[in-house]
């Protein structure tokens, strides 16, 4: 039987103010989980604390960091963890972005659950309620299954890089949960939900697009993708203004590329703040002045490059795509979580649906959401 060394981060604030490291050795088959290893060590030292229950990646209790990456202890085999360990020992720490209570147990209540509650994780039923069950289109319910796969383990919260610098950020798990209700055809408050998230400066537009939550999630929820879909509905469909210039930035960016072919950064900064003459723009530019002046002094860019449009080149011929695609009555989206990869053995890519029969539209149809009876506006 192979032997594995676990390097555990211990913490017991009642007896010792600082965390410390402890190495334990366990003898187990390589297919046993890291959780099995920790529990084996716990047999010998009952003071080791970890939260766990199902041991089958269903309950979401045993979220930890293994070799610096967040995940479920029960869902990671000892063999693969040892292979990924750079120093020989499998390093096991509590999750990040949440206060540690003891050893590997973090306080989910004060961070994770509080944020989930903030997005009203329940269905606000459309009125009048039907006498019997709601009849919902199949594809819209398929669409929410990706976010319903969330087991609330907190792995995405643990390594969210926005939350690391802005603890008030609503965060990936809660925003994925918000998408679950925004896209549910039975929910009547999609607009209200989105408005709340857009008006919160630590809400919808505080995600830095780092993909950490996508890699962290053991269930393929891809919270960042759900955040981008929320933005798509809030911004492109409902044009909800927000506290972070998010909508202006998105529109500024898209218009900028449409006009110039390449991104012209000189305009983007001002467009994102609502135009060159807006007081907010002047304030931000003033704040950035030392860097800008230094860059000009060092000839990093010239005033001509910043204010002129040296990239603009009508020959690129790209504008027609903006015109045509943005004029479509419905957006065409492909979500690989549902459609699969046609090269994967045994996979059968989903049959295309949507306004264009040649395409796969597996995203929600926000217009239908907006226009359905009972939706608030």
């Amino acid at each position: 039987m192979p032997e594995y060394t676990l390097r555990l981060q211990r913490f017991s604030p009642q007896t010792r103010p600082e965390p410390w490291w402890e190495e334990v050795t366990v003898e187990l088959d390589r297919h046993h989980s890291v959780l099995d290893g920790i529990l084996e060590a716990k047999e010998r030292d009952g003071t080791i604390a970890i939260r766990y229950s199902c041991r089958a990646a269903i309950c979401g209790s045993c979220g930890v960091r293994i070799n610096g990456r967040p995940g479920l202890a029960c869902h990671t085999q000892l063999g693969e963890a040892a292979q990924a360990a750079s120093g020989g020992a499998i390093v096991i720490e509590p999750m990040g972005n949440m206060p540690v209570l003891k050893d590997l147990i973090v306080d989910m209540d004060t961070v994770h659950w509080r944020k989930v509650k903030q997005v009203r994780p329940w269905l606000v039923a459309a009125e009048p309620q039907p006498e019997r069950e709601y009849i919902v289109p199949h594809e819209t319910m398929v669409d929410v299954t990706q976010t319903m796969a969330c087991i609330q383990c907190g792995a995405c919260v643990s390594d969210c890089l926005s939350m690391e610098v802005d603890p008030l950020f609503v965060g990936p798990a809660a925003l994925a949960k918000a998408y679950r209700f925004v896209s549910d055809p039975r929910d009547a408050d999609d607009r209200g939900r989105l408005r709340d998230l857009a008006e919160d400066p630590h809400g919808l537009y505080d995600c830095t697009h780092c993909f950490n939550c996508v890699d962290a999630c053991p269930k393929g929820v891809a919270p960042m993708n759900q955040i981008m879909r929320l933005r798509r509905i809030a911004g492109s469909d409902l044009e909800i203004d927000d506290a972070n210039n998010g909508l202006r930035h998105e529109h500024g960016f898209v218009d900028n590329v449409r006009k110039n072919g390449l991104l012209h950064e000189g305009d983007l900064l001002t467009d994102s703040y609502g135009g060159k003459l807006k007081p907010r723009t002047v304030f931000v530019l003033f704040d950035s002045l030392p860097g800008i002046l230094q860059a000009l002094r060092r000839r990093k860019f010239s005033l001509h490059a910043a204010l002129g449009h040296p990239h603009r080149d009508a020959r690129r011929g790209h504008q027609r795509y903006f015109d045509r695609i943005e004029a479509r009555p419905e957006r065409v989206e492909l979500n690989l979580y549902f459609s699969g990869y046609e090269d994967d053995p045994g996979s059968t890519p989903s049959v295309p649906t949507g306004e264009d029969s040649a395409a796969v539209a597996s995203g929600p149809n926000p217009r239908k959401l907006r226009d359905r009876p009972g939706a608030t506006s």
């Binding site: 292979q83 926005s162 690391e164 610098v165 950020f169 400066p201 995600c207 830095t208 697009h209 780092c210 993909f211 950490n212 996508v214 890699d215 981008m228 933005r231 798509r232 492109s236 972070n244 998010g246 998105e250 960016f253 898209v254 590329v257 072919g261 390449l262 991104l263 012209h264 950064e265 000189g266 983007l268 994102s272 950035s288 030392p290 860097g291 230094q294 860059a295 060092r298 000839r299 990093k300 860019f301 490059a305 990239h311 690129r316 790209h318 795509y321 695609i325 943005e326 957006r331 065409v332 989206e333 492909l334 690989l336 459609s339 046609e342 090269d343 040649a358 395409a359 796969v360 995203g363």
Partner: protein, 303 residues
């Protein structure tokens, strides 16, 4: 090797030294750059956030333009471009009906994307195509004594599946390997794989600058002489915004940040000025002894 070359927007805008230094090092690496003049912005994730079909069409168009050249593959010098293009390519390659739909958008220009383009960041080309041994043999001025902190940028290391990062293909270690092949010393620090904060610079400026400032400070505390980045957007937040980032984290910062082609160029024997190293906001005084124009851990102010 002939590559269809996509420099991105920022390398020709606010970080012109990146495009310039790439042009200088290309002949020294036997890379023939076939510029994709008609291609447009990859969308940097923002256009995909706005309208997925639009982003996929623009990038399919770029891929189709690249496939019209006689190049072996497509190459970029921007992590963000790599990530945005890889995301679109994943959808286009995974589903034939979807690809056909996107290609139908391109018929007016008589363009069509054929599944399976090879599109790599310069960093991947160095390790996977040129090879580290070959790179090592071309070094004229080893970066001896230079402690370099790698800063990958999010888009070139995540998501791991999409970017095909595996034990056998450790693309998340390539920057480490290249620094060592150039004779430098890798300085690991907390921010190696973190976000520079640039995507939210206009949305939550404080949080964005704190991200940049924390990583720069961590690298300084770990003893790095400089950072190297394969992404011009990271460079904007880490160099151009460094004075503001220093204010945000309330500590003085003077960390030079080099583009990957600049670091390569120094080791390949090129002159620092022609690599645009005079153009940074934070002057790379700790990297270059300007009096002799050679690479060294020169004392600050030695120029």
């Amino acid at each position: 090797m002939k590559v269809a070359y996509w420099p991105g927007c920022v390398s020709r805008g606010f970080t012109p030294e990146l495009h310039g230094s790439m042009a200088r090092i290309a002949p020294l690496l036997d890379l023939e750059l076939i510029a994709l003049d008609r291609a447009c912005c990859t969308g940097a994730g923002v256009i995909a956030e706005h309208n997925q079909e639009l982003a996929d069409t623009l990038n399919a168009r770029t891929f189709a333009l690249a496939q019209q050249t006689d190049s072996a593959m497509m190459m970029n010098i921007c992590s963000t471009c790599q990530g945005a293009m890889s995301e679109c390519q994943e959808r286009l390659d995974a589903n034939t009906p979807y690809r056909e739909h996107i290609n139908a958008n391109l018929t007016e220009e008589r363009l069509s994307y054929e599944k399976g383009i090879v599109n790599k960041n310069l960093l991947w080309v160095l390790v996977e195509n040129l090879g580290l041994d070959e790179l090592r043999s071309r070094v004229r001025r080893p970066l001896a004594g230079l402690k370099v902190g790698p800063f990958y940028g999010c888009y070139i290391v995540r998501p791991r599946d999409r970017l095909d990062i595996t034990e056998d293909r450790p693309r998340d270690r390539y920057l480490h390997q290249v620094i060592e092949a150039l004779g430098g010393t890798v300085t690991d620090y907390a921010g190696v794989y973190k976000c520079c904060g640039f995507p939210i610079i206009t949305m939550n400026r404080e949080a964005s600058l704190r991200q940049a400032g924390i990583h720069l400070g961590d690298a300084a505390d770990a003893g790095a002489d400089c950072l190297v980045v394969p992404c011009p957007l990271c460079h904007l937040n880490l160099d151009l915004q460094q004075p503001a980032a220093a204010k945000a984290v309330k500590r003085p910062l003077a960390m030079p940040v080099l583009h990957l082609p600049q670091l390569l160029g120094l080791a390949l024997g090129l002159d620092p000025a022609e690599l645009g190293l005079t153009r940074h906001v934070v002057r790379p005084a700790a990297v270059i002894d300007w009096s002799q124009a050679v690479v060294a851990g020169a004392p600050v102010g030695g120029h």
